[in-house]
């Protein structure tokens, strides 16, 4: 592990037994796990390069328990790491040696489905796909669809503001959540939003909580928007002799006013890995492949398919294949959705990056990555959410051959390049521990201090998920000081009227 975590508190470590007993009183039965062999299952999330056993694992099953656990930890200065399904790719759910790991997996019930108001109320441990499963008998679905949707929890989705291939048209988690209930580190239960829209005249705490990576509160209930599934959806596979042409094609589609349901790109190594793994029917003799999905009424899909095929031709596509039925459409996506595990088969380890760039910078960034492959002597396979410029370069390495550090440096270089061209460090996977120390690439000290002031609003003692997101957590008292002192600045002599 090459990243420094906050120094564990000796005071907490030495009181472990007492803490475990106190937690057992709050969460009776099997809800408190302290045996090393049982805690092993929780020692890392989807970012497996980082591992740490927690102080103790707690699995509450109601909001009262969550509230009492947090209140107890707050009073006793014990750090808390919330965890959903543990699929985070940025180490957001990485345990702390002196921290309680608060696992929400027992919050797995769908509480209310309200088709007329087009929303579902669920507990945070319900999986992303579980929401769709609960409403699909009436033709509805929950739109944001991370590739991990079978496993990841909606609570984790909110913490990470997760995206998916359909977010280009339907928005990210933040745009599809109507309300939450959460518990503050002080144990206060707070409700935001609900079946109505927008809390006019109140600060957008829902917007701040979404994407806060478990540092502001523990989500215990979620109300999401559900949508009627489009009448038809068809995907088209378009192969190109170069990634630049594929990129041009994406730009032309959008310039024509078409916002496809999904628009994904894969480069040659990713195409081959995926095709070898699931036989999706991808062409092997192309440098770049686009999957463009059009959804809506049949008339619209037919109309747009013709347009997209024409645009593809104008941009030098060498193969175009339109899905003829649902099975084929699913097969087209199966390759893309299995891209990570597919790459996992061709390389002992891979490191998944997540930068976003303005789309027009794609050729420059691709060229940059080619140069880095040479510099680091490592290969890279690329999958992109092409429509919104979110890149997932997968750096291939072998940890047993001591390549982890090189892979991490490679990844960091990619992200720095993303920021340099006007993009950002992470599009959907979150900062976590992984990109924590790169935050200064994008933000000044003042920028980060203002973000931390949100942290201070919710958790002044820095007990919720410390060591994540911010390279350095300033004490709130320090951040609270004003640097403008009375009389120091006279009123400026500005033009006024």
């Amino acid at each position: 592990m090459s990243i420094a975590m906050p120094k564990p508190s000796e005071a907490v470590l030495s009181r472990r037994e007492e803490i475990v007993s106190a937690l057992r009183v709050i969460v009776p039965g099997e809800g408190v796990v302290d045996a090393t062999n049982e805690m092993k299952a929780f020692e890392s999330d989807g970012l497996t390069a980082y591992r740490q056993l927690p102080l103790v694992v707690v699995l509450p099953d109601n909001v009262g328990q969550v509230s009492r656990v947090l209140k107890y930890c707050h009073e006793n200065d014990i750090p808390v790491v919330p965890r959903g399904a543990g699929t985070s790719l940025s180490g957001g759910a990485l345990p702390l040696e002196d921290g309680v790991l608060l696992v929400l997996s027992k919050f797995n019930k769908v509480l209310d489905i309200d088709f007329d108001n087009r929303c579902a109320v669920v507990q945070p441990g319900v999986t992303n796909l579980g929401i769709t499963k609960a409403v699909e008998h009436r033709g509805f679905y929950y739109a944001p669809d991370p590739s991990s949707q079978i496993a990841c929890s909606i609570g984790g989705n909110i913490a990470e503001n997760s995206g998916g291939v359909h977010c280009l048209k339907y928005g990210l988690t933040a745009n599809n959540v109507l309300g939450i209930e959460f518990v503050t580190i002080e144990g206060e239960i707070v409700r935001l939003g609900g079946k109505h829209l927008d809390a006019d005249g109140h600060y957008d705490m829902l917007g701040l909580m979404t994407g806060s990576e478990g540092l502001l509160g523990v989500v215990t209930e979620v109300t999401v928007r559900i949508l009627q599934a489009p009448e038809t959806a068809r995907a088209v596979l378009i192969g190109f002799p170069s990634s630049e042409q594929a990129g041009e094609c994406v730009a032309s589609i959008i310039a024509k006013g078409i916002i496809p349901g999904g628009m994904e790109m894969m480069d040659r190594p990713a195409i081959h890995a995926a095709e070898d793994f699931v036989n999706a029917g991808y062409p092997r003799d192309v440098e770049a492949l686009l999957i463009v999905e059009l959804d809506g009424p049949k008339a619209e899909v037919d109309h747009l398919l013709t347009e997209v095929e024409a645009i593809a031709g104008e941009n030098g596509a060498t193969t175009t294949r339109v899905s003829q039925n649902e099975e084929e459409r699913a097969a087209f996506w199966a390759g893309r959705k299995a891209a990570f595990p597919a790459v996992g088969r061709i390389s002992p380890d891979y490191y998944c990056m997540d930068g976003t760039i303005p789309r027009k910078e794609l050729p420059k960034v691709l060229a940059g990555m080619k140069a880095m492959e040479k510099k680091y002597g490592l290969k890279c396979a690329n999958v992109f959410h092409a429509g919104d410029g979110n890149l997932h370069p997968l750096v291939l390495y072998d940890a047993n051959a001591g390549e982890l550090e090189r892979a991490e440096e490679f990844g960091n270089d990619i992200l720095k390049l993303c920021v340099e061209v006007g993009g950002v460090l992470t599009g959907e996977h979150g900062v976590g521990v992984e990109k924590r120390d790169l935050m200064p690439e994008m933000f000044s000290e003042t920028d980060m201090n203002h973000q931390q002031r949100v942290k201070c609003t919710f958790d002044a003692k820095h007990l919720l998920n410390p060591g994540k997101v911010f390279p350095q957590l300033h004490r709130c008292a320090e951040l609270g000081r004003m640097h403008v002192h009375k009389g120091e600045v006279a009123f400026p002599d500005l033009p006024r009227f």
């Binding site: 829209l197 957008d204 917007g207 959008i254």
Partner: protein, 415 residues
């Protein structure tokens, strides 16, 4: 003694307006205000000064000189502008390129008796405005990508970026959207823009009661028709839009927009479902646009008075129950947007009746009631915004203290 303090001490009418030309000047103004503890009323063009609680300020900070679009890349679906840029200028620019602001910000000008088209981008974001398309495509908060701002600590900071997908650090842009200028003053704002629709048709169902309309709208929104608007104008309200061309019968409106063949197919399909519920008419293109503009801008209540108007957001299916309940106790005029979940209420008796409205909202399961029009006197004496539960109010107070410890930015506006 500084000029600012003199200004505050002298007659109210001499209150000064400071209009910085750069982010550095903006920072200086706020630093001076902090240093001398003189509260600022922050405004774009003051087109929305009738929203929220009246601010007791010693000086005015106008953003009008920080104006202009700084980046517009239609192919990238992104636009950046200084906060004081007139929203009308932005709308015209994107329209020319075949795009639009998807959240369809409403214009409070007509309701407040000011003309249309006066607002600025900063004001639109700070008030988190949204029009009929809100229920499908989100509000201003859903379309802001990044921001530069100066907090009440007189520190300039940025958040977000210029790309659609970004989870790097906290989303302070969302925090500033809807904060009515009480946390920080935005200087530059980047938003997402989207292609405008090629065609637009509105299905108009005539003669439905509010309750029947609610069911019809729920059916339309729950169908695959991808409606981008669902509103209901009860009898008499209907004739106060589109220059009276709709006539006075109740009108339940479903808007479909997008590519030509798609709109046609959806209109035909949904039409077959809806015509079982009542007489069905169609409006196309410009007629449809004009109609939704009037609904967006609350035209039925833009009567040149300051008779109290409430904007109430509740679960769509219970909007009509709220109105029915209130009618038992007060004379009100009402119409509905957002599938029935956005209720516009005009209090015909001239009193704001805040307790009555809030009790009604509570009874139907909760929501938000905002008094969006009333005389300054009434607004000063009424809780304009929905009161918050204690734990949430406490978080709000702490957030304000973190960003504006001295309380120089629009003090009291949200309180």
């Amino acid at each position: 003694m500084s000029q600012l303090r003199q200004a505050q001490q002298s007659d109210q009418s001499e209150s000064r307006t400071y209009a910085p030309h750069s982010i550095e000047e903006l920072r200086e103004v706020i630093a001076a205000a902090v240093s001398e503890e003189i509260p600022l009323a922050v405004e774009g063009t003051a087109s929305k000064s009738g929203l929220g609680r009246p601010v007791q300020a010693g000086a005015t900070l106008s953003m009008r000189n920080l104006s202009g679009v700084t980046l517009y890349e239609p192919d990238e679906l992104v636009l950046s502008a200084k906060a004081g840029t007139p929203i009308a200028e932005i709308e015209e620019m994107v329209d020319k390129a075949g795009q639009r602001l998807e959240f369809e910000p409403n214009d409070y000008g007509p309701l407040h008796g000011m003309g249309p088209g006066l607002g600025t981008l900063g004001g639109v974001i700070a008030c988190n405005l949204a029009g009929p398309r809100r229920l499908k495509q989100g509000a201003a908060r859903d379309h802001i990508l990044g921001v530069h701002a100066v907090s009440g600590r007189a520190e300039a900071f940025k958040s977000g970026g210029r790309v659609v997908k970004n989870v790097t650090g906290y989303d302070l842009s969302k925090g500033l959207a809807g904060s009515y200028g009480t946390l920080a003053v935005m200087s530059d704002i980047t938003i997402k823009v989207l292609p405008k629709a090629e065609a637009e048709t509105t299905l108009v169902l005539r003669g439905l009661s509010d309750e029947e309309a609610s069911a019809a709208m729920a059916q339309a929104m729950g169908s695959p028709a991808e409606a981008s608007g669902a509103a209901h104008l009860p009898a008499l309200v209907a004739k106060r839009v589109s220059d009276g061309t709709l006539g006075s019968d109740p009108a339940t409106l479903i808007r479909l927009d997008g590519f030509g063949p798609s709109v046609e197919a959806r209109a035909s399909h949904l039409g077959k479902v809806l015509e079982k519920r009542g007489k069905l008419e169609h409006l196309h293109g410009a007629e449809s646009k004009a109609l939704w503009r009037d609904i967006r801008d609350v035209q039925p209540f833009a009567d040149g008075t300051d008779c109290p108007v409430w904007r109430v957001s509740v679960a769509p299916t219970v909007g009509h129950s709220l109105v029915m309940g209130l009618r038992r106790h007060a004379a009100i005029d009402a119409f509905y947007d957002w599938q029935g979940g956005l209720v516009w209420l005009r209090m015909e008796g001239g009193e704001a009746e805040a307790e009555l409205v809030r009790a009604g909202v509570k009874e139907i399961g909760g929501g938000h009631a905002t008094l969006v029009r009333a005389s300054e006197q009434v607004r000063a004496a009424t809780e304009v915004f929905q009161p918050q539960p204690a734990a949430l109010a406490d978080l709000a107070r702490r957030l304000k203290e973190q960003f504006d410890p001295v309380g120089v930015l629009n003090p009291g506006r949200m309180g």
